[in-house]
């Protein structure tokens, strides 16, 4: 690739990133210089405006760009794969900010300005992770997201629980980063370049030249290190503690945006880099590589769903449920087919709606009850029927019961596994899903069948009420018409079945 003048690029395709960067910078300055009289809600609304604006420009890019547009030898690459994930991140952050606007009204978090623009920098990191094809930028994006989320988790400065979970997050995140970087260093050593498209050919040569062992080792290091961000086994142990200690909107942010960003990075790096590695007859990726990820998926599903059974704290339970969801999401990757991209995007879309809805309800209930125990949900139906019904819809969707978006997400993944004749993984998916009904229905049982401590109507902030109502409606709507999303994804992001034109032309 020849060197181009930096001004000869059309930078307008990067507008979403620039908008987020600009808003984060300006809002941090505003927070610094606008004395105490400025309500920090303003910063929240402004950052929401920035996110929505960036979303508009991503939609513009989706409609304008037919081919991927690459900056500086794929340091940043605007393609459909990245755009689809970016829409998820932006939507997720918008919901997180909406929940935060209500959460921050009570003074647990003292640094409100920081809270909002750290969320924006985290979002920027996620967007870079989704739209880069170079190890250096991918690594920097990953760390931008990580560092922002470490701080966000610890922002309840006076709460020991929050401090502690932030510290655990930093330590386990640091170890995972080091493992990822170590894996990347082997990949670089074998390929001599950081561009993953060149890596993919050079690694194949290295594999043929007798360096298979190093190739496999690099794969294992990368898979384990990146499993951290998606909270999949074997790197899942941080999730329960961090989810419990973090402010609830941040928990939702971690559960959706950070996890989706991890998936975008994991899929792109592992798939492209190791795609061509083969032993002459079989591609490594579709044999051993897939098996490795399959074992990770199975372990996450089993650990997540069984450990969730014995949780009494609702946020810890959601963390284990999130580990299980990460397991489900790895299933279509074992081995990847042309349909995997659509399946993953739809599943993440459903998961986004449901998680934010569930965490919004959890936030209201735990605040009001002053406890995060599942018992706090007792009698919710009598106190606020709408909240109880909405929460039931979200939980049914997480469990994968029909007429919810979660059902079709899981159904597509399951059918994909069957089509690949991946019967063992499909079986584990079904069995662990059945196990998961127990703890999801545990909350539903509390809401409808157990008497609460009081019968007084639950005071739900208007914003949260609207958000929960809309999300519940959307969950049911897309459960009834999943085709609207899958067709949109197919038409705009994946028309030629090349994973959102992530694969270059000369692949196959």
């Amino acid at each position: 690739m020849d060197v181009k003048d930096i001004f000869s690029y059309d930078w307008s395709y990067l507008l979403p990133e620039f908008i987020i960067l600009g808003f984060a910078t300006i809002l941090s300055l505003l927070d610094l210089f606008a004395g105490k009289r400025l309500g920090r809600q303003v910063i929240g609304w402004l950052s929401l405006a920035g996110v929505v604006l960036a979303m508009v420009f991503v939609f513009v890019n989706v409609n304008v760009l037919d081919k991927p547009y690459s900056y500086m030898a794929d340091m940043i690459r605007v393609d459909d794969y990245g755009n689809a994930f970016k829409l998820l991140f932006l939507g997720g952050t918008a919901f997180a900010i909406l929940i935060s606007l209500s959460y921050l009204k009570k003074g647990e978090v003292t640094h409100k300005g920081e809270y909002y623009y750290l969320m924006l920098t985290g979002l920027l990191g996620a967007m870079v992770m989704a739209s880069s094809a170079d190890l250096i930028t991918l690594f920097v994006g990953l760390e931008l997201l990580s560092l922002s989320s470490y701080t966000l988790v610890g922002l309840r400065k006076r709460s020991l629980q929050s401090n502690e979970s932030a510290f655990k997050y930093v330590v386990s995140g640091g170890i995972a980063t080091a493992i990822t970087l170590f894996g990347m260093s082997y990949v670089y050593g074998l390929a001599g370049t950081t561009n993953i498209y060149e890596i993919s050919f050079r690694l194949a040569e290295a594999g043929m030249a007798g360096y298979q062992f190093l190739v496999y080792m690099a794969f294992a290091f990368l898979a384990v290190g990146l499993a951290f961000k998606i909270s999949a086994a074997p790197n899942h142990m941080w999730a329960p503690d961090v989810y419990q200690g973090a402010p609830t909107p941040v928990t939702a942010f971690l559960a959706v945006v950070s996890k989706a960003a991890g998936f975008s990075l994991l899929f792109r790096v592992l798939l492209i880099s190791f795609f061509n590695v083969n032993d002459g007859a079989n591609r490594f990726f579709f044999q051993e590589g897939s098996l490795y990820l399959g074992v990770m998926a199975a372990a996450s599903m089993i650990i997540g769903n069984t450990m969730a059974l014995r949780q009494t704290n609702v946020k810890r339970m959601m963390a284990y449920s999130g580990i299980a969801q990460a397991g489900y999401l790895l299933v279509p990757f074992v081995p990847p087919t042309t349909l995997f991209f659509g399946e993953v995007i739809f599943y993440l879309f459903g998961y986004l709606l449901v998680s934010f809805g569930a965490f919004a309800v959890i936030m209201v209930v735990t605040r009001e009850q002053g406890t995060e125990e599942i018992k706090g949900f007792a009698g919710l139906y009598h106190r606020s029927p709408i909240m109880a019904i909405a929460m039931s819809i979200f939980l049914l969707s997480l469990a994968g019961i029909p007429v919810t978006a979660g059902f079709f997400g899981k159904f597509y993944l399951f059918m994909g596994a069957l089509a690949q004749e991946n019967y063992w993984l499909a079986a584990i998916m079904i069995v662990t899903s059945v196990i998961s009904y127990y703890y999801y229905f545990g909350i539903i049982r509390q809401m409808y069948m157990r008497p609460g401590t009081s019968e007084a109507p639950l005071a739900v902030p208007k914003g949260i009420w609207t958000l929960v109502f809309v999300l519940a409606l959307l969950t049911v709507f897309f459960g009834a018409f999943p085709g609207l999303v899958t067709d949109y994804v197919q038409l705009h992001f994946n028309p030629s079945f090349d994973f959102g034109n992530m694969l270059p032309v000369d692949f196959q």
């Binding site: 190890l135 250096i136 690594f139 920097v140 760390e143 990580s146 560092l147 470490y150 701080t151 610890g154 400065k157 006076r158 709460s159 020991l160 629980q161 401090n163 502690e164 979970s165 932030a166 510290f167 655990k168 930093v170 330590v171 640091g174 170890i175 980063t177 080091a178 493992i179 970087l181 170590f182 990347m184 260093s185 082997y186 670089y188 050593g189 074998l190 390929a191 001599g192 370049t193 950081t194 050079r202 290295a206 030249a209 360096y211 329960p240 503690d241 419990q244 200690g245 704290n313 810890r316």
Partner: protein
């Protein structure tokens, strides 16, 4: 006399293992953060060694190292800040005592 690539890789691997061992077993939170730095620097040694003796020697490895050092510095800054916040609430740097949350 030139040193072969194997020696560099061995040093890096040993450093990585020492770091991982330290991060997983040490009680003092500051030492845990230090051990993580060791692991990151092990990766840096790898990158530098590969940028001269790798299969395709190229300068990209050294650039990567600059980025990873910067990131490591930022990470330890955040880690220490969080540790100080923790220390203010509970006067300890012993990771065994950070057990507020139940299993």
């Amino acid at each position: 006399m030139t040193v072969s690539i194997t020696s560099y890789l061995m040093v890096a691997l040993i450093l990585f293992c020492v770091g991982l061992y330290g991060a997983l077993t040490k009680r003092n939170a500051v030492v845990v953060l230090l051990s993580i730095e060791l692991m990151l620097n092990a990766a840096n040694i790898n990158l530098i060694a590969f940028s001269k003796y790798g299969l395709y020697p190229a300068v990209a490895g050294q650039i990567f190292t600059l980025f990873s050092m910067t990131v490591a510095a930022a990470e330890v800054a955040v880690g220490l800040a969080i540790l100080i916040a923790l220390y203010r609430n509970k006067e300890t740097v012993n990771v065994d005592e950070m057990n507020q949350m139940k299993r």
